[in-house]
Amino acid sequence: METSNSSRETILNAIRASLPKGVVEHPGIPAFQPPAGALKAVFEQRLKEAGGAAHDVGSLAEAQSKLAQLHPNAKVICSAVPEIAGTRRVENVRDAHDLADVDVGVVRAQFGVSESGAVWLTQEDLGVDALGFLSQHLVVLLDPKQIVPDMHTAYRRVRLNETAFGCFMMGPSATADVEATLVHGAQGARSLNLFFL
């Protein structure tokens, strides 16, 4: 639309002229049997394999002390959740660049996916998208009742028409680019701790 209409029409016409003979119908996606095992236990195991860690915290007070215990030297704790104050509120951050000094970002995920240990986070959950990626460490809150078995059920829950950004985040940043050796904290968060709360 921004470019000349001619490229657009040329491409679409070339496609129409090339369409393979015989139309293939969409196969539909059957309801698969969810994986065996308790959702929460499998989720925790998968998160661990992805380099993250899950913690059962009984109360908000316990969550706060766990946060302090995990990150004793954190100077800037930027929070997007009402329960945890942090040292900076994401609501007051105007520009993504202002998150460059964040030691710990605190967010709440909408739900988790058992088969992978991933959590679903949207722009609304992060406040500013960059909080999920510039923070040196992440603490993610998750209601343990909000775990779905697999990606099929997960995609039935996401509302892509309601958010500009959504991410399945599975543990911290990782790379295996140097001699296939797994290293966490390549560019994004160095650690991801998940509190069931």
């Binding site: 639309m1 994986p35 990626f133 510039l134 996401v158 500009a164 295996a176 140097v178 994004g188």
Partner: protein
């Protein structure tokens, strides 16, 4: 016919193999280990084969309705505030990207890994026009600093040792040449890249999937580098091949269950990010790129290659790729998928690639979208032979073989002569390095004393009325 020089993958692979006793065995070992993780993940999902079949059919459905889904994607992405551009070819793509960057006064760009941008040779195009382009994926950055293209579509520098990387970083970003610990090297690059993310005027990504129903595109990474590039600079440009369309959000469940398991033996990549319109306060441009894809769609034997989701499983399982290294293919796409994609860009230049295969068929077996890769490799051999692109040695030996197979009575005579022929032929004739690069590091098998046919006639002749 193109004027480009014909790529000689066997000769390039030989250089990779003989350089030392370290690189090729390491490359082979790492990729095979990745393949074993893939097998374990696939075996743990009872519906794995059904998922492959569904994914294949969804892709075929989409490609046979591609005009419709592209228009639907464009309408929905535009409605959400994205600017959608259409690029006929690589130059068109690069021009569009450059004009967006120029209009926004961009001096420095941070980009994540995109095979499409590699295919378009975008980085040199922009750098010649005064724009600084930094790769943010660690492996891709290593390759950029070394002046090499990626050697693998998922693991760009898998052919390098930690020592290679330590020496490269010492030379280019001033680290300790004697510290080759991957943790140290990754940390050094994190600290080197961070200021570049913050200084960049624009971020660029590719796209793994584009969802027509919502106008969303998806990017999968492990490092989070694409997300920083999309979330920090004010401008985000995504290059997406027109074949990346997927009809509905629900379809993504199938593809994401297959992609990372096939690519690296993990249930997902660490980040599976969905972009639907610009972020709060940002600007988003999407460039839909054809560059030969619509033409490929019209090739009855080859259009299934457009189903590819770029997982790299065919490369990891390929006995030829694992021992050759990806750079031997001399092209953007290497391994089995490269063998069938590259000739669509330049048949003459890549005419030797279809012969860089054992035709074992493992690639077709592991492909998550069931592309008939090995059949296409064979079909490309036919194309190359029909066009007369075969080198003289192959032409002559294929002519002899073709004649023999077409005349069974002569074949049987030859068969019985082969054993004494191979046994008594001068070594130099069979192992001539110029005539047959495949035997440079191999010995021919010992021929059987008795042919299968003779054994069959002697032992099972009661079953057969085998024509004599």
């Amino acid at each position: 016919m193109s004027t480009a020089k014909q790529i000689d993958p066997a000769a390039a692979a030989e250089l990779f193999i003989i350089q030392d006793q370290i690189h090729e065995p390491m490359h082979d070992r790492f990729l095979w280990a990745t393949m074993q993780r893939r097998h374990a993940e696939a075996a743990a999902i009872p519906e794995w084969e059904e998922l492959r079949e569904i994914a294949s059919k969804i892709k075929e459905h989409t490609l046979t309705h591609l005009d419709h889904y592209l228009e639907e994607f464009e309408a929905n992405a535009t409605k959400r505030g994205a600017h959608v551009h259409w690029a006929l070819d690589a130059t068109d793509h690069n021009q569009i990207v450059y004009s967006i960057l120029r209009d926004h006064g961009v001096k420095e760009l941070i980009k994540s890994k995109s095979m499409l941008q590699e295919e378009c040779q975008m980085t040199p195009f922009l750098q010649q026009r005064g724009i600084k382009v930094i790769e943010s994926d660690l492996g891709e950055r290593i390759q950029q600093l070394d002046g090499q293209p990626p050697s693998h579509i998922v693991f760009p520098c898998i052919h390098k040792t930690r020592k290679d990387v330590a020496e490269l970083f010492a030379r280019t970003i001033g680290t300790d040449p004697n510290n080759d610990d991957p943790h140290f090297l990754t940390e050094e690059m994190r600290n080197n890249a961070r200021p570049r993310f913050l200084a960049a005027d624009a971020g660029m990504t590719g796209g793994n999937f584009a969802i027509a129903e919502t106008g969303t595109f998806m990017v999968c990474t492990n490092e989070g580098n694409a997300d920083i590039g999309a979330a920090v600079p004010p401008l985000h440009i995504a290059s997406i091949g027109i074949e990346k369309m997927i009809p509905r959000v629900e379809d993504m469940g199938v593809f994401l269950r297959l992609l990372a398991r096939s690519a690296e033996g993990a249930p997902l990549t660490q980040y599976s990010s969905h972009y639907t319109g610009p972020r709060k306060g940002g600007e988003l441009h999407i460039v839909l790129v054809d560059n030969g894809r619509s033409r490929r769609l019209g090739m009855p034997d080859f259009w299934h290659s457009l189903k590819c989701i770029r997982c790299g499983a065919c490369m990891n399982t390929c006995p030829v790729y694992r021992r050759s290294g990806g750079l031997a293919y001399g092209s953007t796409y290497s391994g089995p998928i490269g063998v069938i994609l590259d000739p669509t860009f330049d048949e003459f230049k890549y005419s030797e690639l279809p012969f860089h295969s054992s035709l074992c068929g493992s690639c077709s077996e592991v492909c998550p979208v069931k592309i008939d890769i090995s059949d296409q490799i064979l079909n490309w051999r036919r194309v190359m032979a029909a066009k007369g692109y075969l080198p003289l040695a192959k032409k002559l030996s294929f002519a002899v073989a073709g004649h023999a197979f077409a005349h069974p009575e002569e074949y049987h005579v030859l068969e019985n002569l082969a054993e004494p022929a191979i046994s008594y032929a001068p070594h130099f004739l069979l192992y001539d390095r110029a005539l047959n690069p495949w035997v440079r590091d191999r010995e021919l098998p010992q021929p059987a004393k008795k042919t299968f046919r003779d054994w069959y006639l002697a032992n099972r002749s009661e079953h057969g009325n085998l024509q004599q």
